[in-house]
């Protein structure tokens, strides 16, 4: 037994169980949460080179599972998000006054499908296997988005479909060209010829659509803003990360020798534009959930801004750690923010930011959760977001990339502007609106996630150590990268 298998098998088993149990399906989260957190901890504690072939079938035919730094950081973070969302959703997706709804019933198997799919995606090195995991995650994501707005869900579905086909086309070209689709083997064999370059291009384009990098972000704000709060949290925190991680695998592992610096700057430039555009759009939003959704567009930009910084760095381990810490911090903070926003909007029965007036007095814990998440998202110390953005800024200044450094600073300022607004409204006014008390579990879930996002800053060293398990080799010299101490 190994957590590499169980982290995928367990959620799928819970999916089956929730379908068979029927009405009581929501109770399973109480068993799934500790089990998955324990498995995630086991994964982190595995020896550094832990990897094995499924069924012991050798490459190039078989499928390799591996616990690299990316997986060791993102799998536990994903599990934390799912646990918090699951506990939060426990009340929301339950039979209402004795009657069960389709939504309350199907949310649980979809949650487990998404959980198993994203874990499978982080752990495998096989590009075709990744295609299947992408579809597992997308399928659940589309269904969850459609719970809010069917129109936005359909738009998301069609775009995600073309994105996965573009990815599949790339996989087909690679499979025909190299007779393998394993990233570790492609890293050895890949040549910069037309089929390979075309494959990288279409795969990256397809994944960028799914990750909603500006200017391919159009589908994200409507879908993420309209969905029920737990679904929004999963969509914004977990789903978009899988596409990003696969791009990371393609560009820095499988095709590290093939990708040109100009392409890195193209992605970096798109990331920079995403930060500016997403932030400005977020400032202009009147509705709270749209603001948070546009903040996702902006925050995803940081992940791609890091690409040229990693490839140019004399010591890539530092920006590499930064991008992974940012992914983890954003995951926790964004999930917390959507959950807290869901509670706040439900309490005031509105959706506009102006509806929140005086809420800080009525629901101090939820507003605190929102504020803590905002601290991490804007990158204020001592949060995880701060660690990530500081490392990125450091790398940008070290390399003399004035533009990227400027975007990082401006993005932080704009982030402060758009996140300060709902908080200042919530703290304004003298009269506290009367709101119904929420179940403690629902209040605790976002608070815990947001607190974790902030506390990540204290665990910076540990995260950087973990990320170095899969850092790309230094561009400048043949020496393997050392974690930035």
């Amino acid at each position: 037994m190994s957590p590499l298998d169980l982290l995928v098998a367990a959620p799928l088993a819970f999916m089956v169980a929730s379908l068979v149990v029927g009405r009581g399906g929501r109770w399973l989260i109480l068993a799934a949460s500790p089990a998955m957190l324990a498995l995630s901890a086991w994964l982190v504690a595995l020896p550094p080179d832990a990897a094995h072939l499924v069924g012991d079938w050798e490459l190039p035919l078989g499928i390799l599972l591996r616990a690299d730094g990316v997986a060791r950081l993102l799998v536990p973070a994903t599990s934390l998000c799912f646990v918090a969302v699951g506990l939060y959703a426990w009340h929301e997706f339950s039979p209402k006054s004795g009657r069960e709804t389709a939504r309350a019933h199907t949310f649980w198997p979809l949650l487990y499908l998404m959980w198993g799919g994203s874990n499978a995606g982080y752990l495998t090195t096989d590009l075709f296997n990744l295609y299947v995991t992408i579809e597992m995650v997308s399928l659940a994501a589309v269904a969850m988005a459609a719970m809010g707005s069917l129109a936005a869900g359909l738009q998301y579905f069609l775009i995600a479909l073309v994105g996965s086909l573009a990815y599949l086309l790339g996989v087909a070209l690679l499979a025909a060209h190299y007779d393998t689709v394993d990233a570790t083997l492609l890293a050895i064999h890949a040549r910069p010829d037309l089929p390979t370059l075309l494959a990288i291009t279409v795969m990256t384009a397809g994944l960028l659509v799914k990750t909603a990098l500006f200017p391919l972000h159009g589908w994200l704000p409507p879908a993420h803003a309209a969905a029920p709060a737990p679904a929004s949290a999963l969509l914004s925190a977990v789903v978009v990360k899988l596409g990003f991680v696969i791009i990371l695998r393609l560009w820095f592992e499988a095709f590290a020798e093939v990708v040109r610096p100009a392409a890195m700057h193209l992605l970096g430039g798109m990331g920079a534009l995403a930060i500016l555009y997403g932030s400005i759009q977020a400032i202009r939003q009147e509705r709270l959930k749209s603001l948070v959704a546009y903040s996702t567009v902006a925050q995803l930009g940081y992940l791609f801004l890091a690409f040229p910084l990693i490839s140019n760095a004399p010591n890539p381990a530092e920006p590499w750690a930064a991008v992974l810490v940012h992914a983890v911090a954003h995951m926790l903070a964004k999930a917390a923010m959507f959950l807290a926003a869901g509670l706040m909007l439900k309490a005031v029965a509105g959706e506009r930011i102006s509806d929140l007036a005086g809420l800080a007095r009525a629901m101090p814990l939820s507003v605190t959760a929102f504020a803590l998440a905002a601290i991490s998202l804007t990158g204020l110390p001592p949060s995880g977001g701060f660690t990530a953005k500081f490392l990125l800024l450091h790398a940008a200044i070290e390399q003399g990339s004035v533009v990227y450094a400027a975007v990082l600073v401006i993005g932080g300022l704009l982030g402060a502007v758009y996140l300060f607004r709902p908080l200042s409204v919530a703290c304004s006014g003298s009269a506290a609106p009367v709101v119904k008390a929420e179940a403690p579990l629902r209040v605790a879930a976002p608070l815990a996630l947001a607190a974790l996002a902030v506390a990540l800053g204290f665990a910076g060293m540990m995260l950087i150590e973990l990320s170095s398990l899969s850092a790309p080799p230094a561009a400048a010299g043949p020496l393997p990268a050392e974690p930035g101490r």
Binding site: L61, Y131, L150, F157, L165, L169
Partner: protein, 108 residues
Amino acid sequence: MTISTSLGHLFPLTGAALVGLGLFGFISLRHPLRQLLAVNVIGAGIFLILGGLGRGEGVTDPYPQALVITGIVVSVALTAVGAAMITRLAEERRAAGTASDQPKDQGP
């Protein structure tokens, strides 16, 4: 390029043309059900590229064959979800239309 090598590429080239054709259909067609059909044409093209390039002396490599079968099953599952979403959306629009006679728009 001799005639024989270009004929060896006949099926994958047809697949490439199908991908282009389907992509054009997806962009230029407005109705989602037609777009869904276009997506299926793109998928068939990709599978033909993959399978056609796995053609050896006499037999076709079982490895791409297995990938294609997996792909076909995934694509029918997605097509079914898409078709269900399209019909449900039409039902909702109809229900909203009888109530307010306005198409439902939930964008921000």
